[in-house]
Amino acid sequence: MPAVKPKSKPRPEVLPGVRHPMEKYLRTDRLPHIWCSGCGLGIALSSFLYAIEELGIDPNKVAVVSGIGCSGRFAGYVKMDSYHTTHGRAIPFAVGLKLANPDLNVVVFSGDGDLFAIGGNHFIHAARRNADITVLCVNNFNYGMTGGQLGPTTPPEARTTTSPYGNFEHPFNLVYLAASAGATYVARWTTLHARRLKESIKEALQHPGFNFIEIISPCPTNFGRRNRLRDALDEMRYYADKAVIQHGVDPAGAEVVPGKEFIVGKFVDVRKPTYLELYRKKTEELAARFG
């Protein structure tokens, strides 16, 4: 049988000869990416890469773990140690990775469905333990990859392929969930707030324990189109109009309700013993006792 030729993919150049400054962190042979035009995942990814660059972190010391979904492709695109887990299992994989090699900065980069529907249980337990990882959740309010179905963050009355007349379920308020489960750094931004998002990722990467950042992002193809935010610019304008930057707010009241103002900013930034610290303390204690 004839050898299968790899598909030759055209490399679109926006400006001839001009490269993205963060290209060194990408597996360019994997490009162009699969994301739709107007998707916020690119902004989320570049914010993360700029954060790594500006902190001067050795990319060899960063591991990126993703679940499944459009956002799951992060792991495949970054030129760092990365792993694409099964759907929902990014966090337990990352926790294991961090325990095996505590020198790594372990980042989970995944979607709202992956982290809070099928993988929700892992999230609360990693936060409870204050496991030493950073979770970046790109929230597009639906299951993007599988065609835009209702998920755990879908707002009330939003239309999806499985709620054609509007969602009637209560959604999660992710920052409240994270804070109440025990996360020690919790923030929310949108892809409009790229610079603040980057600064926040920098903080999270340096903050010990379980860090969580919700990144609200447009999904024009699946979510926006069905919810009067036809293109990504509409959604960006919506963020500009409705997002209110405030820090230190009680996340309990920080719901994202369509048509209403919503709060972005840092909700939690506290220090408490991390899982690794507690683990080490216990082993030292036992070593002292039993030699």
Binding site: I68, H87, G147, Q149, T161, T162, S163
Partner: protein, 394 residues
């Protein structure tokens, strides 16, 4: 074949065909989680529910494990229940599929066959079906969207047959069948409703006057007997299957007869055994080779679990050589279908030479040329333990 009702023909995808069968059956509860290449089944069904076309309770659960758990709960309560999944979805669900079978719950599920990770892949093979092979669920394979539609309806009646009461998986090849447009003849809604009838639960949990306990402990004192009783359900399935299939054929005019479809087998010398859409490709080859005077045939498996060995021996016993095509590996052994087919001949003195091919993993295309090569290689085939690979670059 004569039929009792007049159907209507429409071009539709396999997804739609399955969703239409579900709409006509109109189960009480559907719990489902999206996964490629199944998602559109859930989406079509959501549309029916939200448009008030069906009175089903649709539960958009947060994972397949929850989907099957919700199905088990609803079925134990006495509801007629359906779901659909694929690949990793079934892998996550399988813990509870075993429980559905152990509790003798007649849950019907469409499985849009897709390969299992790792590496991740969204295209067709049968590794997901093989994963649930020993789960206690009945498994049926469809060759076309039409068969997927028909067997969803047959499955419902079979699952609920009081002699059987087991979950049924209806397999349809992901993308090849789910996403392609084919002409499907649908039965009138009332014909399907009449055919499946009312569901009569046994000891439903919601029968508060006759309280019962489900899923209770069975220690070494009773577990064994309960499992034997479950096997009895499986043993009763072939007879029930034939009855339901016959009744369905009379209703629809589509001639489904038996556990296997024998295609130009009577005088054949060489044959292929296969499940799913590849049977369609193989039939084209059989016709072509027949025109050239080659005595070749095909055996397509409809009912894979339970596997009816006696029938198989009758159909294949006269052949010289048979190639069994498995669309999944059973690591460390020959293909699972090959083992099924060959073990059916364990007591036979006269038997064909059997060859095993693994094909189409991860959606690798299966061409008529490859199938031709199989028929060619069957000429003068000798017994061997070699596992062959079709369409693999080595």
């Amino acid at each position: 074949m004569q039929k009792t009702v007049v159907g209507y023909r429409k071009a539709m995808t396999g997804h739609k065909a399955v969703a239409e069968a579900m709409r006509q059956i109109e189960p009480d509860v559907v719990a489902v989680y999206p996964i490629t290449p199944q998602s559109e089944i859930a989406e079509y069904y959501a549309e029916y529910v939200h448009n008030g076309v069906v009175r089903t309770e649709l539960v958009p659960v947060e994972s397949e494990h929850s989907a099957m758990s919700a199905c088990v709960g609803a079925a134990a309560a006495g509801a007629r229940v359906m779901t659909a999944t694929a690949s990793q979805g079934l892998a996550l669900m399988v813990e509870v599929v075993y429980i559905a079978a152990g509790l003798r719950l007649p849950i019907v599920m469409a499985l849009a066959n897709r390969s299992l990770s790792a590496p991740i892949n969204i295209h067709c093979d049968h590794s997901d079906a093989y994963l649930a092979r020993d789960s206690g669920a009945i498994q049926i394979f469809a060759e076309s969207a039409q068969e997927a539609y028909d067997y969803m309806i047959i499955a419902q009646k079979l699952a609920e047959d009081k002699r059987v009461r087991l979950p049924v998986l209806v397999n349809l090849d992901g993308f090849t069948l789910t996403h392609t447009l084919q002409v499907v003849e649908l039965l009138p809604d009332e014909a399907v409703k009449g055919f499946v009838g009312e569901f009569e639960p046994i000891h439903p949990l919601l029968d508060v006057d006759n309280p019962s306990t489900w899923g209770a402990f069975a220690m070494p004192d009773y577990y064994f007997e309960l499992k034997r009783a479950q096997q009895a359900g499986m043993e009763a399935a072939p007879e029930a299957f034939l009855e339901v299939q016959k009744a369905f054929s009379e209703l629809s005019g589509r001639a489904y007869r038996g556990f296997f479809e024998a295609y130009r087998l009577e005088d054949a010398e060489r044959a292929i055994v296969v499940m799913g859409s590849t049977a369609g490709t193989a039939k084209v080859v059989v016709d072509e080779l027949r025109e050239r005077g080659e005595k070749v045939g095909l055996l397509k498996v409809w009912l894979w679990r339970p596997f009816v060995r006696e029938e198989l021996v009758k159909l294949l016993g006269h052949l010289e050589a048979v190639a069994v095509l498995d669309r999944a590996l059973s690591f460390g052994n020959m293909g699972a279908l090959f083992l099924d087919v060959t073990s059916a001949f364990v007591h036979e003195d006269k038997r064909p030479v059997f060859v095993n091919y693994i094909y189409g993993l991860g959606g690798r295309d299966v061409t008529t040329d490859q199938i031709k090569r199989v028929y060619e290689e069957l000429k003068g085939a000798r017994p061997s333990h070699e596992l062959r690979y079709l369409g693999l670059r080595e």
